[in-house]
Assembly symmetry: C2
Homo-oligomer: 240 residues x 2
DNA sequence: GCACACAGGATTGCGCGCAATTCATAGCGC
DNA sequence: GCGCTATGAATTGCGCGCAATCCTGTGTGC
């Protein structure tokens, strides 16, 4: 079949979402990339997305363009859009940026030491543990990234929170592309200690731990060994 | 005259630039906003920009959309785009973000202490001083912001450099909206000391100075006194 | 058997036009 | 004189269609 394959799978069947806006298309594509239903190198053909979302090409184009600006897709003029496949240099940039920015957000949260904020962080951590116990690894990883986004939001700085959201998304692309040689078992403990330091208002230790946490996440990856990217279309989900 | 006023002035007559792309339109609008030729609250009518740049509406729309994502313009659906007018809370966010991010870039530059990089920074500072002596205040301010962008670029982290570029641009919007009660005389000295610390590899002092520098810039503003924004069109430059 | 050239199909880029909504002005009632 | 309403103009949102460009598959020559 020569017809472009359908990409409808980017929307989950469980929570059938309304997609009637360029922003909706953006959100669903973003989620699909972060959740690794769309793998790096996947070509995002406009017409396929038009059929998938039932929108006009302009809406799809704007959504794709925004994702391009956010470095989640790369755009070759007159050739199309592909899910981004960061190289080692870009990966290092992302981790360095996370260290710098999340040091700032952690400092703010620890300095405030707001009980309500701490409770939300603890809640997030509990949910993640529960999901992990039940074997829902994908959702657990999703929440694990959400922990960092939540921390950024609780810092009260919308600009930094938005950046952390994008950096976490790019991180999920990176961890997919580079073999991780170490397990990620240490994550929870770090998050747990992080919450304790923030609750106690121990700013210095909280910041140091966050930096170490992100650095460790980076070190767990073999940045000199990138998985070859398949640049052909991948059927995430098939319709009909 | 009922016709929409021309906005051609966004391109400087001196360096007549080619504008044949959505990216070009974006760059010129960006420069016009940063250089304060387009003031906060100015309405950016699509048709006016179409005539000014000689492009289609789609190219203008994408440029405007990108500026919206970058928080340099605000977009009211079905009503149009306006040059952003940040409030006090957003201003605080921007400065806090700059402290966090530029602490990171400064640390990287100071740690490397690369003579070539130091030379570029010194060059930038010399040029700014020369312009300021000659009374070209606008170009001097432009370079002064460029110093921070240059530092970010020299840190080798493209992600952080891009963020600094946007934050500096938003800062130029902010310093226009809030009365600054103190002069900005201290800038040069700060930048000068910053270069010295970086050249000497004094990481701690360089980072501390950068944080103090940005904080001082924020404190020079009266964030509780915002200049009223004129939400009507402003003729930056008039054609015919 | 391999490399190059050519042609067909597919995909993106972009201008054009209409429909829907909003803002401004003028008119009317109180 | 003041406020409200209604009509008109202007502007944005969006789908449609054509032209330009790029990839793929085939055929030919060496």
């Amino acid at each position: 079949m020569k017809q472009p394959r359908r990409l409808v799978g980017v929307m989950n069947d469980r929570n059938r979402p309304r997609v009637e806006d360029a922003g909706d298309a953006y959100r669903h594509l973003f989620a699909a990339i972060v959740d690794q239903r769309l793998l790096p190198g996947t070509k995002l053909t406009e017409m396929a997305l038009v059929e998938a979302f039932g929108l006009g090409r302009r809406a799809i184009g704007t959504a794709l363009q925004r994702l391009t600006w956010e470095k989640l897709v790369v755009f070759f003029p007159k050739r199309g859009a592909f899910v981004a496949a960061p190289d080692a240099a870009e990966a290092r940039d992302v981790f360095a940026a996370r260290v710098a920015i999340e040091a700032g957000t952690t400092e703010a949260v620890a300095r405030a030491a707001d009980p309500a904020a701490i409770a939300k962080l603890q809640d997030n951590l509990d949910q993640e543990r529960a999901l992990r116990r039940q074997g829902h690894l994908r959702e657990a990883i999703h929440l694990s990234g959400g922990f960092h986004v939540l921390m950024a939001e609780l810092s009260g700085n919308r600009t930094l929170a938005e950046q952390v959201r994008l950096l976490v998304a790019r991180t999920s692309l990176i961890v997919n592309l580079f073999d991780n040689q170490a397990g990620l078992a240490g994550w929870h403990d770090h998050h747990d200690d992080l919450i304790r330091h923030c609750a106690a208002g121990e700013v210095e230790q909280a910041v140091a731990l966050m930096r170490a946490h992100i650095t460790e996440l980076q070190d767990a990856l073999a940045l000199d060994r990138r998985r070859p990217v398949a640049f052909d279309m991948v059927d995430v989900f098939a319709r009909d």
